[in-house]
């Protein structure tokens, strides 16, 4: 009855197989051929998986080689002081003068001013009404009564929303496509948190969409940042901040947004 570390024990008592070294050496020697055969002959999904695995292995190998190369570099790094000094009138070429610094500062300030009104995704593809709305035909007179629409994209619906009577409800926003939370990234802190949505500020495609609360890429939403403990310029705790949606929620099943700061 084998008990506990019986394999190690057996090795200790009887030693390794007589041809152990030979076998390991041969196995190692065979490895390259084996890889080559796999790379050539695997098909389909297995080939994909194999290629991916091999790719990552190769990256690791390259990194290791690079590290070795860096380690093996001989001689001192390039000196700061050049061996042949440059005359003073040529020094300006390398280092910008103070005047130049000033002008670039102004330029950057202007850019910054513009940046205040710029958003991470400045331009998005428009969404046509045909794409967004699906016609619902109601009643017996099928051809005539096509006045009702279903919104096919994710929407935000406020907490106190109640549906209108069927007769007056022109737009239906399906329950399955309503979102309440968004994964918001703070661009400078590089953290992502899930925050509740307060409202839709602007949908760039169409003011009607803003009204309906359609969430598409590029939409500006207001999120509740009270959990982050952010402070406004005047020192008050900010709780509503704008964020821009950066993904296609209808394709991903979640909302990703960047906080506008």
């Amino acid at each position: 009855m084998p008990q506990n570390e019986y394999i190690e024990r057996h090795r200790k008592l009887h030693g390794k197989r007589l041809d152990h070294e030979e076998r390991t050496r041969k196995k190692a020697a065979r490895e390259g051929h084996k890889q080559s055969e796999n790379a050539q002959n695997l098909r389909g999904l297995r080939a994909k998986l194999y290629a991916k695995q091999r790719h990552s292995q190769k990256i690791q190998m390259r990194k290791a080689i690079k590290q070795h190369e860096e380690r093996n570099v001989k001689g001192a790094p390039a000196e700061n002081e050049p061996s042949n000094p440059i005359p003073s009138y040529l020094l300006d070429r390398a280092n910008p003068t103070s005047a130049k610094a000033l002008s670039s500062q102004i330029k950057s300030k202007r850019a910054e001013k513009a940046a205040r009104f710029s958003v991470p995704i400045p331009k998005v593809k428009g969404i046509s009404e045909e794409e967004l709305f699906k016609v619902v035909k109601t009643g017996k007179k099928i051809n005539k009564k096509g006045w009702k629409r279903v919104v096919t994209k994710p929407t935000f619906v406020g907490p106190d929303f109640t549906r209108r009577p069927v007769k007056y409800e022109r737009f239906i926003r399906p329950m399955g496509l309503r979102y309440k939370k968004a994964n918001v990234t703070h661009p400078t802190l590089n953290v992502t948190v899930q925050l509740p949505i307060l409202g839709v500020k602007k949908n760039p495609s169409n003011p009607l969409y803003t009204q309906l609360g359609v969430l598409s890429k590029g939409t500006i939403i207001e999120v509740n940042v009270s959990d982050l403990g952010m402070v406004t310029a005047s020192g008050k705790i900010a709780w509503g901040r704008y964020a821009q949606i950066t993904n296609n929620p209808e394709n991903d099943g979640c909302l990703n947004a960047v906080l506008l700061v």
Binding site: Q3, N4, G176, L177, N251
Partner: protein
């Protein structure tokens, strides 16, 4: 209690590969142009759901395959706690089961979203997102899965310790000869080395004493320090000491060869004494070959004796090196353990008021040996003749003659054949050598041997006589009448006829893919009709004449005096024989103008009511064909010139790969 059959736990990466490739392999992979959106949605929904089901199944299997700590025996529970850290173990399993729930939630969410998707691209993206999130969750399980696999491997290698059976537990300081004791009493191959902590975990061996099996557990050595400072190896010993109801053999090396002073060993015994409560403890003084108990300093001797006396502990002596006293120790301990267990069982089965419980009575009834009442001793009965018989002695010339002797006298084995008939027990000893055939007329004689054959025969004869006297055999009528014979003949005839008809019908019915033609429209020749009527006894003369007349009328022109039998007048004028075609033409005649070609609309339809019915049925039969745009026989159809199934896959030259 073994955990040898827990399935291997794959690593996170393997897990993802398994699950995703399973989804890929098991489900359809192709979407063709023109699939309806509902079908596409169903396609991707199925993918998401299937992946989730696979995950749940695999995770569920992992969680359920590992032992639940609370259900285990306290010994196993504590052992696992020491070896694997119960909290860690629970957390790992908990993480796996949480992941399972999360994956189920993800699947639910994405299936819901898929219902609203509008395009193939959107469906695909949603599926991709769902599988991606599942994979991420699994990736996060990297550490717990690796840990669980390690635990599984270790569990499978744990020795098979039964905590309830008869057990000897060997404990003591390191290097005092515990393992060598175990390996000398049992067949277990416990490693014995001359250094401390050779044994790093529990080992189990088995020994037989008095036809009962005992379990011997070898524990790692314990050092004399507080419980908190003990390491994992020592804690295993402590667990075994604490939870196993066993006879404990505490080994002490009085020669101090192990490197620990005797004082320390005695202290250890004292400090772990709380673990010995309600257990039998034996102190085994080992390595007696090196130093005798008597050679010890007197104060040590007294201390050891005090130890034994104060705690109801026995001192035993052994030497594993010379095997001296080892078997005695074993036998003594086993004996005491057995007695103790039996008395405990008796005590447990007996209630507080002294009556025996139902389970115990059952056992007691089984082991009870009945004795005669009143203390009478019953001797074995031996007949006088046997008592007085002279004892057989091979060398005595007056000895009894055995069959063996007889054989020897008559030429020994192989030559002498035993006379089996000599010892037959028959009514008359003279019959012994009578010859009786075993088989007679191809029958086994013995089957017909009947002891009361005479009585039976007598009874039969008597009955026969009686019957004859009563006139039972007298035939009452000798009327061999002809009417009966006639009836029989007719019956025979009818039977034959039936058979013929049946045969004919059978011939007709085996139509082998030919159309079934109704009897009415079967062609039957006139001769057949004639025969049939003849047989029925109807005069066919008249019918024959009538038929002939009818034929003559419709045949058209008579062909003239043509004789097939060559009776043409040889002197007749030679006439140009009309050609075959001309002859046919001359016989043909136009269709009767007055009769319409059969109106197929009315043909076979009796009246208006019937017609409407027929039309309705025809329409009904056609309806499905029309609606489904089925191919009918009227449709133009060109069969495949080279049917694929007849031409593909037939190899002539080349290999499988080349196709």
């Amino acid at each position: 209690m073994t955990w040898k059959d827990i399935a291997p736990v794959p690593t996170a990466q393997e897990f993802i590969d398994i699950i995703l490739s399973r989804t890929q392999r098991r489900l359809p992979t192709q979407i063709r142009a023109g699939f309806k959106i509902s079908r596409i949605r169903a396609f991707y929904t199925r993918k998401v759901k299937f992946t989730q089901e696979t995950c749940s199944e695999k995770f569920g299997a992992i969680v359920s395959s590992f032992p639940i700590l609370t259900d285990q025996h306290p010994f196993h529970r504590d052992l696992m706690n020491i070896l694997y850290d119960a909290d860690h173990f629970k957390v790992a399993l908990g993480q796996v089961s949480t992941a399972k729930h999360l994956i189920e939630t993800i699947s639910r969410d994405y299936v819901r979203l898929l219902k609203y998707s509008q395009s193939l691209y959107q469906c695909k993206q949603l599926k991709r997102a769902a599988l991606g999130r599942m994979a991420t969750l699994i990736k996060r399980l990297k550490d717990p899965l690796a840990y669980l696999d390690q635990v599984r491997q270790h569990l499978a290698r744990l020795p098979d310790i039964n905590p309830t059976t008869r057990t000897l537990l060997v404990a003591g300081f390191p290097n005092v000869g515990k393992s060598s004791f175990v390996s000398s009493v049992t067949r277990a191959d416990t490693p014995v080395e001359p250094y401390a902590f050779t044994t790093k975990s529990l080992f189990v061996g088995h020994l037989d004493y008095k036809y009962l099996r005992y379990q011997v557990i070898d524990t790692p050595g314990i050092l004399d320090h507080p419980l908190e400072e003990m390491n994992t190896i020592e804690m295993q010993s402590v667990t075994a000491l604490a939870h196993l109801r066993a006879a404990i053999c505490f080994f002490i090396d009085i020669s101090e060869q192990c490197g620990y002073p005797l004082k320390a060993q005695i202290n250890l015994f004292k400090s772990i004494k709380p673990l010995f409560a309600n257990k039998m403890v034996f102190i085994v003084l080992n390595k007696m070959d090196v130093k005798k108990f008597e050679d010890l300093e007197p104060e040590m001797q007294t201390e050891l004796n005090d130890l034994a006396k104060s705690d109801d502990v026995e001192l035993l002596r052994a030497s594993c090196a010379t095997q001296e006293g080892v078997q005695d120790v074993k036998n003594h301990v086993c004996e005491r353990l057995l007695a103790e267990r039996v008395s405990q069982k008796l005590k447990a089965g007996t209630g507080s008021n002294g009556n025996i419980g139902s389970r115990l009575t059952e056992v007691m009834a089984r082991i009870h040996v009945a004795q005669p009442m009143g203390g009478v001793t019953r001797e074995t009965f031996v007949p006088e003749a046997i008592k007085d018989m002279k004892k057989y002695d091979k060398n005595d010339p007056e000895r009894r003659k055995l069959a063996r002797d007889e054989e020897f006298e008559n030429g020994g084995a192989g030559v002498f054949s035993v006379d089996l008939k000599r010892d037959y027990l028959l009514a008359n000893p003279e019959w012994k050598y009578d010859k009786i055939p075993e088989i007679y007329d191809g029958k086994n004689v013995y089957d017909y041997v009947d002891p009361d054959i005479d009585a039976k025969l007598a009874a039969l004869e008597e009955e026969e006589e009686r019957l004859e006297k009563e006139g039972f055999y007298k035939s009452d009528s000798d009327i061999g009448d002809e009417s009966e014979e006639e009836v029989l003949q007719k019956a025979e005839y009818i039977r034959e006829k039936h058979k013929l008809i049946r045969n004919e019908a059978k011939m007709r019915k085996s139509l082998k893919n030919r159309a079934m033609i109704p009897r009415k429209s079967l062609k039957k020749s006139f001769s057949q009709l004639e025969d049939h009527l003849d047989q029925l006894g109807v005069d066919t003369q008249e019918i024959d004449l009538r038929g002939r007349a009818a034929v003559r009328e419709t045949r058209g022109r008579s062909v003239g005096a043509r004789s097939r039998t060559g009776t043409v007048d040889p002197d007749a004028m030679e006439v140009d024989a009309p050609s075959a075609r001309d002859r046919l033409r001359s016989q043909s005649r136009p269709r009767d103008r007055s009769v319409m070609a059969t109106n197929r609309r009315e043909d076979g339809v009796t009246d208006e009511v019937m017609r409407t019915k027929v039309e309705r049925q025809a329409k009904l039969a056609q309806r499905k064909m029309n609606r489904m745009a089925r191919q009918g026989e009227a449709d133009r159809h060109i069969a495949a010139a080279m049917p694929k199934h007849l031409f593909s896959g037939k190899r002539t030259l080349g290999k499988t790969n080349s196709r």
